[in-house]
Amino acid sequence: MLQFPANIAAAAGVNFAAIMPEVILSVIAMALLLVNVFIKSEQKAYLGYLSLAGIILTFVTVISGWGTAQSGFNNSVLQDNFALFFKGTFLVSAFLTILITDQYLKREECNWGEIYPLILFATVGMMLMASGTDLMTIFLGLEVLSVSLYVLAGFNRANLKSNEAGLKYFLLGAFSTGFLLYGMALTYGATGTTRVAAIASYISQNGMVLSNPMLLAGMLLMAVGFSFKIAAAPFHMWTPDVYEGAPTPMTAFMSVGPKAAGFAAFLRVFIVAFPAMKADWSELLWVLAVLTMTVGNITALYQTNIKRMLAYSSIAHAGYVLVGFTAGNAVGTAGVLFYMLSYAFMNIGAFAIIVLVGRKGEDNNNVSDYAGFGFKHPVLGMCMSIFLFSLAGIPPAAGFIGKFYLFSGAIQAGYVWLAIIGVLNSAASVYYYLRVMVFMYMKDPTEEFDWLQVSPSLALCLLLSVAGVLIPGILPGSLLDLAQKALLM
């Protein structure tokens, strides 16, 4: 699983085919950056359309690359099916995010075109993380992503909460980068290489893993660094504040894409580079998964702000995904892939509704502000319910299939208790998802919601999200198959 393909392991040198999606998207992003400064502010929406077109183009490249592994740049990138699947996920999340961005920007009167290139750059970073097979590439991808995200989190610069989110994210993100890097440095020192495949072969040749504390420390520190990025407890402290303060579409984006990217790199590094130490790291991940799920869910119960609640929920979801990761087998790992993709649909969908209901100045984001929403706007209410049910993992939504797969992986690998803790958490999580619905349907409206305006792009986002939640929920076969195949190459 996830092995470096033997037939192209020798391939060295430049190979642009291996980074084609990244190249295309970066070129488009740079072009947008330039276009942005030459057009008037009323025309900024065109940037959105252009970036959507760019994403579609990149997506086509990703799809056409399916099934062939391309390695390049002295084996520091490897675009295999695993990478391609994640790239698809990132592109989907960027696409959906851009669809809801325009309306938000107009509402908050911060209609600066830079947001589109920044989203694209962040996506490039994520894609690089997914296909990086060298710690250096992974680090670079991570930083391209993070630096873009710091700006995106603080994008609404007139809004104090957004400032605060950006700054917090920046400080803690940079802090965690330090740990990640130190881990990478120690791993490099212990094995003499930064290529993940070479690390693995070094370990398998030299054995005696535990007798090499440096390697172990390197691995642990890397795990800490990645845990920060995927918001796993106890390294999750930044998440709620950042998610609450960041501009809503960016929160949607952050909770989905970067998390998936973090998992992609986390998986790649740990499964490919440290298979010999699986016994060590799965213990660690076990604990992380339990903590993450529990902390996320329990704290989410008390939240009144819906963005903050979804932030904790996203922590919990990282915990579920860690369950699949802990299992480390084909089912669990495929579950991670599948889950991240379906999470993109359900979470961004939910945030699309939050963008709709919110008012200028990030107002109206309390759960109680949704009182009566479901009946005032039945279709939107239904969409939100579908997303929430999916988040809660109730069939027939994609979230259920995803959880089923993750927990199945854990059970197959013998982590039955982990799965049980997982489902109990899942049951507890139902409470706060339902609370939103309680307000939506079971409380009398305090507002008329007459200011709500669904822009066509936002409607498209909702449509795609609902489809992305229900279709894989009812007929998950082909997508699961894809996720399985992504691991085999």
Binding site: Y150, E164, F175, Y182
Partner: protein, 100 residues
């Protein structure tokens, strides 16, 4: 000459100072400087290993770390300015609008 261990110990100490600084200092800029200290201690580690292993990967890595640190610095300072403009402070104690 100095052995690899001395470099590693030095960088570990620097890294710890940086990490502790991040945790206990209150000024955002100082915190950021502590982060930079951490990154630079990592750079030291990389260089020491690179020299020890006779392998350039570590030095290349340092290039990228430096670049990234610069980009982070630029973005970070911009964020701090934006925050300062609205809040007249860069004390992290004032990053308190959102709490659970």
């Amino acid at each position: 000459m100095l052995s690899l261990h001395s470099y590693l110990i030095l960088s570990a100490i620097l890294f710890s100072i940086g990490a502790i600084g991040v945790l206990i200092r209150r000024n955002a800029i100082v915190i950021f400087m502590c982060v930079e200290l951490m990154l630079n201690s990592v750079n030291l580690t990389f260089i020491a290993f690179s020299k020890y292993l006779g392998n350039m990967d570590g030095q290349i890595f340092v290039f990228f770390v430096m670049t990234v640190a610069a980009a982070e610095a630029a973005v970070g300072l911009a964020l701090m300015i934006a925050f300062y403009k609205n809040r007249e402070s860069i004390d992290v104690e004032d990053l308190n609008l959102m709490k659970w």
